[in-house]
Amino acid sequence: MRVVIAEDLFLLREGLVRLLTAHGFEVVAAVASAPELLRALLDERPDVGIVDVRLPPTHTDDGLRAALQARRQVPGLPVLVLSQYVEQLYARELLADQAGGVGYLLKDRVFNDEAFTTAIRGVAAGGTVLDPVVVQKLMVRHSRTEPLTRLTPREHDVLALMAEGRSNAAIAQRLFVTEKAVSKHAAGIFAKLDLALSDDDNRRVLAVLAYLGS
């Protein structure tokens, strides 16, 4: 799987390259600034771009903006954004185009290389992966609003894990229930939130998130 990495701190960049190479990814470019990132994403067309939010030249959210611009030119170009902090505002901007293939994670999720590489593969496959911190904030914000109060606690858990980009199988494993039970919960959630059923995991997640973001 071909990967572009954008990270301005040398140690972290090299660490990421080493980690991904060790897990069988092919790092086609490892860049340190937003303009280089944009060029690499558009020239290399990687399977996924791994992008730090804060990059030169202005050291603000250049990485995020470069990723968004690349996705405007190449719709659905998979991008996994890493950051020292996660903001709902940025999550919304990433999800706004509804094209999927988006990830937004805290940098320390790299520590768990299993979960991290699963997330990369999920994003590359067009899925949506949100950091549990973002999901938690979304849930807190909407826990008092009308449709979410209709969900049972277990359905809440399932919805949160779905927003993190987990498959039904992964959710089942995490909650120690059968996959069938998860499917049943998911159907319940969609019914209560008045969302159309779909086989596509990513579509489901996007629909839920669009609903939460409204």
């Binding site: 937003a34 303009p35 944009l38 939010v53 804060r54 030249p57 202005t58 603000t60 959210d61 250049d62 903006r65 470069a66 611009q69 020292q84 902090y85 903001e87 709902q88 505002l89 940025y90 919304r92 805290l106 940098k107 320390d108 520590f111 904030k137 807190v140 914000r141 826990s143 008092r144 609003t145």
Partner: protein, 529 residues
């Protein structure tokens, strides 16, 4: 006589309407309203007529004046009504001038209001009394009807009242010259106050200079009076030369010691030139000295007021700087403590875990692995703590995107529906933006914690150098900056930038919190890639 009654009746009507109008009675519609609207302007008719009659037998003027008044009433009734006070004032001035002509020996008889004025004991004083009354009425109407010029009159009055305390500015002192000159011309210094008649402009200039100088001396300072006298000298000198060069175009009866008596034959023009030259020379010699004296004359009321203002400003700045330094120091202490007890401790634990793992690795690889996992956990916790700390020092979105997006992010993180109305035409400088951000964050935290609110509204606007933020919630109210440290801290934080916090929070709500900070806006950030 009839006219006087009509005039008084109309003035009485105006007064009645004004007093009634002040109570807020609604204006009737239809014909009555129209009559009332036009009625204002109808007052112009008798006034214009009287002015024309009293203009002194110029009968041709009467139809013209009446025509003008009628046109004004038909085409512009409201502006015409505003001119009524000027009609009354004009009548008053006419009365004063009439009295003056009697004093000068005129014997023609004229009806002025209730008095059949003429030479003799019943001449001037009753006319003057009536004129004075009309003057007061005219001035009152001017202020009540808010006619053009009312603002100036009010400002001058306020200034005059204040001048007893603070003195008047140099420009105003100089303005006194034409004003006093006009008054002197109007009243006629002939033998009105027993003054010497004005025979030449030089005497008028001298009178004016002396009079204005005296006023300035009373209300302002010696330096300004000296400057005025200096200006008078120069004008007088120049006037001498004007007489010499332009005779007989410039009328001259007398100039200094030269008695021209309307003919240069009785005196030699060169004496006028010499006198003018002497005055000019004296003026030019004195000018730099007077100015130097003027500049060093410190007990100037304006300077004193400035000094008072600056002293107050320095006191405010000292206080707010003190608070700012205190706040910053407390903040640094908190950060140091958080780092010491948090991230630093975690990193020490991490190092110890790794050290133990290294030691255990050859003998007990499984135990070593467990320790490495522990170290990983430690580093994760350290990162979380650092993240929270950084957010408290400087919110990332504020650094990335500026105030508007930072407030949007704040609203998204608030577990309540937040309605946003952010109207910021540019970027706020970071220090001010940070203060405003944390103030709004504190307000939102209070709403979430205490108010029991169901919705919050945040409005930002900017006009004439003032950033205004308003946080409104529908909670239970009762917030008070005097209680608790949160809002007091916000007040201190804003004071550093001359900003203010106002809270309206009656029991039962709603709570409205307003922040105002003077600041400049830079052009909006432009996406760089």
């Amino acid at each position: 006589m009839l006219f006087a009654i009509v005039l008084l009746l109309t003035i009485g009507c105006i007064a009645f309407i004004l007093v009634r109008g002040a109570k807020g009675t609604p204006r009737p519609g239809g014909l009555r309203g129209r009559i009332r609207d036009r009625g204002w302007a109808l007052l112009l008719l008798p006034i214009a007529m009287s002015a024309a009659v009293m203009a002194g037998g110029a009968h041709g003027l009467i139809p013209a004046e009446l025509g003008l008044a009628a046109l004004a009433i038909v085409f512009a009734p409201k502006p015409a009504a505003k001119l009524v006070p000027y009609g009354v004032l004009g009548l008053a001035i006419f009365g004063i001038m009439l009295a003056r002509t009697y004093n000068d020996g005129s014997i023609s008889r004229v009806q002025y209001l209730f008095v059949d004025a003429g030479w003799g004991i019943w001449g001037a004083p009753p006319v003057l009394a009536e004129a004075g009354l009309l003057f007061v009425i005219g001035l009152w109407l001017l202020l009540r009807l808010n006619s053009p010029g009312a603002g100036t009159v009010r400002a001058l009055t306020a200034r005059w009242l204040a001048s007893g305390r603070r003195g008047i500015s140099g420009a105003q002192a100089l303005l006194l010259i034409p004003v006093v000159g006009l008054a002197v011309q109007l009243l006629g210094p002939g033998n009105w106050f027993g003054w010497q008649a004005i025979d030449g402009l030089d005497v008028a200039v001298m009178d004016l200079t002396l009079f204005a100088g005296a006023l300035v001396l009373i209300f302002r300072s010696r330096a300004w009076a000296a400057t005025l006298a200096e200006a008078g000298l120069l004008v007088l000198g120049a006037y001498g030369w004007v007489i010499t060069v332009f005779w007989p175009v410039v009328p001259g009866f007398a100039y200094g010691f030269a008695d021209l008596n309307n003919s240069p034959a009785s005196a030699h023009l060169w004496t006028v030139a010499v006198e003018g030259s002497v005055l000019l020379a004296a003026g030019l010699w004195l000018a730099p000295r007077v100015m130097r004296h003027h500049l060093t004359d410190l007990p100037d009321p304006e300077l004193a007021a400035r000094a008072r203002h600056l002293t107050q400003r320095v006191q405010t700045l000292t206080q707010t700087r003190h608070d700012a330094v205190d706040t910053a120091a407390a903040e640094l202490r908190r950060i140091e403590r958080d780092l010491h007890d948090g991230a630093q401790a975690r990193l020490v634990a991490l190092g110890m875990s790794l050290q133990a793992a290294q030691r255990l690795f050859p003998t007990n690889p499984e135990a070593a692995l467990a320790l490495v996992a522990e170290a990983k956990e430690s580093s994760s916790l350290a990162l979380t703590e650092l993240r929270d700390l950084v957010r408290g020092i400087y919110p990332p979105v504020l650094a990335d995107r500026g105030l508007a997006d930072a407030i949007r992010a704040l609203a998204l993180d608030t577990p309540l529906p937040v309605e946003l109305d952010l109207d910021l035409p540019g970027e706020v400088k970071l220090p001010v933006a940070s203060a405003v951000y944390f103030s709004v964050a504190e307000a939102l935290a209070n709403v979430t914690k205490h108010a029991g609110a169901r919705a919050v509204r945040i409005q930002f606007s900017y006009s004439v150098g003032m950033l205004r933020a308003q946080v409104t919630d529908d909670g239970s109210g009762g917030a008070d900056p005097a209680l608790g440290t949160g809002l007091a801290g916000v007040e201190r934080r804003l004071a550093t930038f001359d900003g203010i916090l106002a809270v309206s929070s009656p029991p039962g709500g709603p709570t409205i919190l307003v922040i105002e900070v003077p600041c400049a806006l830079s052009s909006p950030k432009i996406s760089s890639c």
